[in-house]
Symmetry: C2
Subunit: 214 residues, 2 copies
């Protein structure tokens, strides 16, 4: 099968489109144009068409897209047409915040277990999710068919936890620890750098200032 | 002055380059080629040159870039040549995690205060940062010359908090609440959607599976 390299920015916009389509669908709208999607999410109509064109023909010229169909297609492209049992390693503040985060469950990511090596935390519940010791990792990953692990431990433990996740059979890792970690080929890794978001803000503040100068 | 629209992906890569240059500088390396930067961070040499070209000529053909100079230039482009006093609104799990996050201070973002409306939290310290009631917001923003506010409150309060931040004089907002908020022109807003990171993983897992099929 042909491998098309899809830009990550396109995937992020698909995610945005799907949320918008879900809202529009709830309002009872049946068809929508690329221009309406574009206006609703704040990108150009050409961008919407280009993003969707990566995945084949969806719309009917002059009629637009069927809202439900397009939403379903995008969710399928994103792999969100099924539930993803997910685990969090680290029951500290960040891990706890992630367990409480409503956005995950809304998109099909169900946190089924949290892991920590602090005996005081093991057996506790966070938002109805049980905290287990790391010795139970492999067992629970297998039992719950977990594919996704979220690392929310201090930087110094991130690589060790990544290794344990891979050994347990997890093949997609979201790393919140501010540390570069390595995973074998075939394991998807994504690092969430909270700071880079602030840096985009300060860059933009600088651009504002530069543009307002004569 | 000419306004050049810089792609956000470029800003994110500049941030990555600057971290790498900082590491290389600490090892005592004096000059570096675009190829070496590219290899160090995992992008193509052409991409490195293209990203840097947005901001003028840095390197010397055949010699490469001076590591310290290039690092300093990029930090200045990102607005990181000075400290940014920053506040967090919301002293729940996420707000607490953000106060503890080492990555912020390393890049010049110093969290100077946390705000919450829970009387039990007011006056407490999180990682040496004091929790204040929201009635102190304007006073502290002015006193500490705060330009950046981070929203870490439940979705239903996000817009109200954004309004209060803008009224207090904050002109850049990082919103972690899973809710679309509106700010006036001239205020920079960035939404951190934690879920979209998981969706990129599931998309990539799907691509793996598609590509491994005959």
């Amino acid at each position: 099968m042909k491998t098309l390299k899809i830009p990550e920015a396109t995937i992020i916009r698909l995610s945005v489109y799907s949320r918008y389509l879900s809202q529009v669908d709830q309002k009872g709208v049946v068809t929508i144009s690329s221009g309406e999607i574009a206006e609703g999410v704040g990108v150009s109509p050409a961008q919407v068409r280009k993003d969707l064109a990566y995945f084949g023909e969806f719309g009917t010229r002059g009629v637009g897209y069927n809202v439900k169909d397009l939403h379903r297609h995008i969710m399928k492209i994103l792999g969100l047409n099924s539930e993803w049992p997910t685990i969090v390693v680290g029951a500290g503040n960040l891990g706890t915040a992630l367990c409480m985060y409503r956005g995950f469950r809304e998109r099909g990511f169900q946190i089924v277990a949290v892991f920590d090596n602090d005996p005081a935390k093991i057996g506790e519940n966070i938002n109805e999710v049980t905290v287990y010791g790391l010795d139970k990792l492999a067992e629970i990953v297998e039992k719950e068919d977990v594919k996704i692990g979220i690392i929310a431990v201090p930087a110094d433990y991130a690589q060790e936890v990544a290794n344990q996740l891979v050994d347990a059979g997890v093949n997609a890792i979201l790393n919140f620890a501010p540390k570069v970690i390595n995973v074998p080929d075939g394991v998807e890794l994504r690092n969430v750098d909270l700071t880079v978001n602030l840096e985009i803000l300060t860059f933009n503040l600088g651009t504002q200032k530069r543009n307002s100068q004569p």
